[in-house]
């Protein structure tokens, strides 16, 4: 058997983020996959130990640009739990609104990218156009299109005015109509059916044994959603359903995500209509008492968990971030074995990988020798211009 190693990345036309795949192939078929995920490693966990809670939030938000609210919320939720601070209902509703808007924009972004990977660029353009309506709503509510920075320890930073709520509600019917169009499209658009059906199949047992999370697991029939199984914010008081599917392939994951966009829209509408009055933040002490907590949250890509240990000061002693993409990589490697090389982009895109979330470690070669990749000895400024 001849084995050919096809290196993909870290800079590659098919990749949006730096990651290195070493795909081992036998002819057209993939037999093995090696990954290097550390290109975006920045050292955020260490930096979080050196800044106080107020300064950590903007840093934690920049773990990932797409699910920034997820990381900030899961962190402040953990700190509030250690402090024993109960955040006011209005703040919980506002956090939920931003979280679900973020889920909508992330899933629409994904749908476009997945369509792009199979050459269906029309849908890519459509979803990104419709996503702008969600981003406009986010911008009106928080002031920013991407990094919302809505969280504060003890509540949220900004209140929503009645006119903002009204403007956000006015956008909902348009989005509802577009989502209905996507639901129809995924079911009878030949381009998507041909490239998504039966590609990247993952059975329920496999999904459970590989520890898949989020839409990847739910598409394989695993009824697991942190919002339902370990409710936080207001998810136990508002009507919504966990979307699951039994197809287990990329088609199933597409259906789950489109279903989740519709569910999120319902949640946002419900929260905006039933926004309780009152304060938007509770008084939180500056320092947190010593304690340990595992804070969990359902990010657009799946369960994100922050392990936080505090030591009685205004800084964390340790924060450990476990992201959904990391949990899903093993299932990707399994799905790819035996598939043709052309399926790599669509199967990898199907888990909605986020490398800046996942780059939590880096490998340092012993002896400090980085070989030919090392910057010049007199530092990066030594490069000729």
């Amino acid at each position: 058997m001849t084995r050919i190693v096809v290196p993909i990345g870290p800079q590659h036309p098919a990749l949006k983020e730096p990651v290195n795949f070493r795909v081992v192939t036998d002819g057209e078929r993939i037999v093995d996959l090696e990954l290097n995920l550390s290109y975006s490693h920045r050292g955020i966990e260490k930096a979080a130990e050196q800044r106080d809670f107020i300064r950590v939030l903007p840093l934690i938000e920049r773990v990932c640009g797409i699910c920034s609210h997820s990381h900030a919320t899961v962190f402040s939720k953990g700190i509030e739990e250690i402090m024993g601070v109960e955040i006011p209902p209005r703040a919980q509703y506002i956090r939920t609104i931003i979280a679900e808007l973020e889920r909508m924009h992330s899933h629409m972004l994904w749908l476009g990218v997945a369509a792009h990977e199979v050459g269906f660029n029309t849908l890519f353009m459509w979803t990104w156009r419709d996503r702008e309506a969600v981003l406009d709503t986010l911008e009106e509510l928080s002031g920013n299109r991407v990094h919302y920075n809505m969280n504060e320890i003890g509540g949220v930073r900004l209140d929503l005015s009645p006119s903002q709520v009204e403007a956000a509600l006015a956008r909902m019917p348009v989005l509802e109509e577009r989502i209905r169009a996507y639901v129809g499209m995924v079911e009878d658009e030949e381009t998507m059916l041909t490239r998504f059906r039966g590609v990247g199949s993952l059975s329920r047992e496999e999904a459970l044994s590989f520890g898949a999370v989020g839409p990847t697991a739910r598409a394989s029939g695993v009824d697991y959603d942190v919002r339902k199984d370990d409710p936080y914010l207001v998810y136990d008081e508002i009507p919504w359903n966990v979307v699951t599917d039994t197809n287990g392939d990329v088609y199933g994951r597409t259906k789950v995500r489109i279903g989740e966009i519709a569910e999120s829209l319902g949640i946002v509408r419900h929260c905006l209509e039933n926004l309780p009055g009152g304060p938007i933040r509770a008084e939180a002490p500056k320092a947190a008492p010593p304690g340990e907590i595992l804070s969990r949250y359902e990010a657009p890509r799946g369960e994100v968990a922050h392990f936080i240990r505090t030591n009685g000061t205004a800084r964390v002693e340790r924060v450990d971030i476990r992201t959904p993409t990391l949990a899903n990589w093993t299932s990707v490697a399994h799905c790819l074995i035996g598939r043709p090389l052309a399926d790599v982009p669509v199967i990898v895109a199907a888990i909605d990988p986020c490398l800046s979330c996942t780059s939590r470690i880096t490998l340092v070669k012993s002896g400090g020798d980085l070989g030919k990749d090392a910057p010049p000895p007199n530092g990066p400024r030594g490069w000729s211009r």
Binding site: Q11, Y39, R42, G43, L59, R62, G65, S356, P380
Partner: protein, 171 residues
């Protein structure tokens, strides 16, 4: 290679490049926020293709390199290599606060820092992340620089001369 504005073919190339600059996007270890805003520029709402701006996968086809994010130690040599692969005249736009000065990641143990520590940058865009209209403005500013550079026969007129170059000019 510097394109001369004195010959007809040189003027034609400068004109063509200004009408349709091709860009390559490089993520040097950022958080994706700038990347999704750049991709939003290519989408129907902002639609930079109406200015002839096309996104290309290969740096060998590109006139402008758009770099996002603070440079990590692993990405620095790759960024340098991608820049070296681009044909002259090449231009670099550093998008976002991190690319301009390290941003919130300044001084972290796995960071090299801003983009201009690794490659020369022509246009910086502020913001975390900058809005798509600001990114489009940066590309248009870059096109202005291209036109001026063509008149001056290269970018030397607007960059600081190294001490060796000054000594050479005096001698």
């Amino acid at each position: 290679m510097t394109v001369s504005n004195r010959t007809f073919s040189g003027r034609l190339m400068t004109w063509a490049r200004g009408k349709s600059p091709w860009v390559t996007i490089f993520n040097s270890g950022g958080c994706n926020a700038c990347d999704i805003e750049i991709i939003a520029c290519l989408m129907p709402r902002f639609d930079v293709e109406r200015f002839g701006i096309l996104s290309r996968g290969s740096p060998r086809h590109a006139d402008i390199l758009i770099v996002t994010g603070a440079v990590t130690r692993q990405q620095a040599p790759r960024l340098r290599r991608v820049w070296e692969q681009m044909p002259e005249p090449k231009y670099v736009i550093a998008v976002g606060a991190c690319a301009a000065g390290g941003g919130v990641f300044q001084g972290l143990y796995h960071m090299v820092g801003s983009v201009d520590q690794v490659i020369p940058v022509d246009v910086f865009v502020a913001g975390c992340p900058p809005r798509p209209d600001e990114i489009i403005n940066a590309v248009v500013t870059c096109l202005g620089l291209m036109a001026e550079d063509a008149v001056h026969g290269g970018r030397a007129w607007r960059t600081k001369a190294t001490s060796e170059a000054v000594a050479e000019a005096i001698a």
